[in-house]
């Protein structure tokens, strides 16, 4: 890799200078986004985050809220889980083993890596505890290690469920426990070959019977061949007792976070859509999952918009494609999802928080924040509002990139930040 550097840098400079697609500074969001025609110049637009330390700065939160770092120097924190006693589990890791198939993969991989942390994934769960309730998490200990890129977390049936990049596992859990007893038990193997999109998101049904696991596609748009897409771009429903699974929804490109809507059995997902169709295509989205639905990938996007990059196409599948519920904007890279509750205060009581990792495939960066999507009558309603910002400044200096978001019933939003390797806690001031 070292020897490639001058070539890669020269190409990067060329790539950046030759990008013509600018894109709108504000994006279409909501239930019925206006989609422009696809565009792709000779070179794709790229704008990579320039990592910078937080120093004395912190993210920006709405008036009436305060934010503190409750854990730093983690090893790539992704998703978090608040246990019944208030302890917080943090999944740390970095997965994927996708081979570089084209010269492009080598160059793009190098460029994109510049916008991410240099820290090696921890492959572990860290437990954080604030025993006296002062907002400082004085205990920071490894709950379990030697995991394989753990990502999705859920608690049910007195067990902690963990979606590793290759397997759904569970740990038995006693209240107050700070260390797992032994290795986890396997529930089901998950598709893990190549693992271009390796993050396995997870939610468990209210009755504790089914685990829902999001499995991302193995490519942007089938450039690794259709054979690589078997059992990919799906959400599986897995019986946690038997390990029996079935596809719950399909054609869902990269479902990076799942959540169960409180008071219902509805599974919601945030999904990252395809790149290289221009700055304002294709919107990442938030949607409730309708059992058996096909969401279009790879043949079409946002319903019946055919993607000509997939040949041979499949008009029957296109006709069957379901439109998602709510557009979050193209390239924002939504990676976190949590339903809010009364503890978050009046303005944020009804809706979801969405963590947006931030774009790389867009000239004007978008995402790099946590937003709140208001709900009414159990559905998204109205425009989203910013909840946590300040991760990236106007000069492109990027101090953090939000991933998982979790609502702590004690009255806080937990935000994992995988660039500065920090867990942030946003609390409503009393």
């Amino acid at each position: 890799m070292k020897r490639l550097t001058p070539i890669a840098l020269a190409t990067a400079a060329l790539l950046l200078s030759a990008c013509g697609e600018k894109g709108a500074s504000t994006q279409e969001r909501g239930a019925d986004p206006n989609l422009p025609a696809p565009e792709r110049g000779l070179l794709p637009s790229m704008k990579i985050a320039e990592p910078e330390a937080w120093g004395s700065l912190t993210p920006t939160v709405p008036q009436g809220f305060t934010v503190t770092a409750i854990a730093t120097d983690l090893k790539v924190p992704r998703q978090t889980l608040v246990l019944p006693n208030g302890d917080i589990l943090v999944a740390e890791g970095k997965g994927g083993s996708a081979a570089k198939l084209k010269p492009k993969d080598v160059i793009a991989g190098y460029i994109k890596a510049k916008g991410n942390t240099k820290v090696k994934g921890g492959n572990r769960l860290t437990l954080l505890r604030d025993a006296d309730g002062d907002g400082k998490y004085e205990l920071n200990t490894v709950f379990a290690d030697k995991l394989n890129a753990p990502y999705g977390l859920a608690f049910a049936n007195n067990k902690i469920y963990v979606a590793n990049q290759d397997e759904l596992v569970s740990f038995d859990y006693q209240p107050g426990q700070t260390k797992a007893v032994g290795a986890p038990s396997s529930i089901a193997k998950l598709p893990s070959e190549i693992n271009h999109h390796w993050t396995k998101s997870l939610a468990v049904s209210t009755d504790g019977r089914f685990a829902y696991v999001g499995i991302g596609s193995n490519s942007n748009i089938t450039e690794r061949g259709m054979e690589a897409e078997r059992d990919r771009a799906m959400v599986w429903q897995i019986d946690v007792n038997t390990g029996a699974y079935k596809p719950y929804v399909t054609g869902i490109r990269n479902p990076t976070a799942l959540a169960i809507q409180p008071g219902s059995d509805k599974v919601w997902a945030v999904v990252n859509e395809r790149d290289e169709l221009g700055p304002d295509l294709v919107p990442d989205y938030l949607t409730s999952l309708k059992e058996g639905a096909f969401y279009g990938w790879p043949y079409s996007y946002w319903g019946q918009n055919v993607d000509p990059r997939v040949q041979p196409g499949d008009p029957k599948k296109v006709a069957a494609a379901v439109k998602p519920d709510y557009a979050l904007g193209s390239h924002v890279a939504a990676l976190g999802l949590a339903f809010s509750s009364a503890v978050m205060g009046e303005a944020f009581v009804n809706g979801v928080f969405v963590g947006e990792h931030g774009s790389w495939n867009r000239d004007q960066p978008v995402g790099y924040k946590v937003i709140f999507v208001p709900f009414a009558d159990g559905r998204p309603s109205g425009q989203p509002v910013d909840f946590v910002t300040g991760f990236r400044d106007a000069d492109g200096k990027t101090r953090g990139r939000p991933v998982g978001v979790t609502v702590d019933p004690r009255g806080a939003l937990i935000v994992a930040d995988d660039l500065s390797n920090t867990v942030w806690r946003v609390v409503k001031s009393r």
């Binding site: 792709r40 000779l42 070179l43 010269p103 748009i221 089938t222 450039e223 990059r309 040949q311 041979p312």
Partner: protein, 143 residues
Amino acid sequence: MSTSMTAGAAYRSTPGPVHTILLAGTVPLYLGALLSDIAYHNSHQIQWSNFASWLLAGAEVFCGFALLFALVNLLRLKHKGGRPLLYVVLLLLTFVLGLVNCFEHAKDAWAIMPAALVWSVIVTVLAIAATWVGLTTRTGGAQ
């Protein structure tokens, strides 16, 4: 006296062994990329597209170094015109359009079609022409 000088000029403008290997190497590499593109176009099998991308990358490396040799040769010539100049121009065109073709091939899946195939035809023809002119370049003399 004058004959020996023209002979010297002829020697300098004709590619040496390394230059020849680099130059002639571009032909099978660009041609290989073209054939792979045709195979991808006809089969939709993505691996052909991967082959084409790497063959093109190799062709650009060979072409780039051959271009360097060609330029040095041209600069050392007294009369910078005629076939030696045509050779450099053709090779430069091959390299630049080959680079465009590389970027075209960097698009995902079928997005490269049909442009990649068309570029590959153009670049292959140019590479053959440049090699032909390059290897038959004489500025006169007894060789």
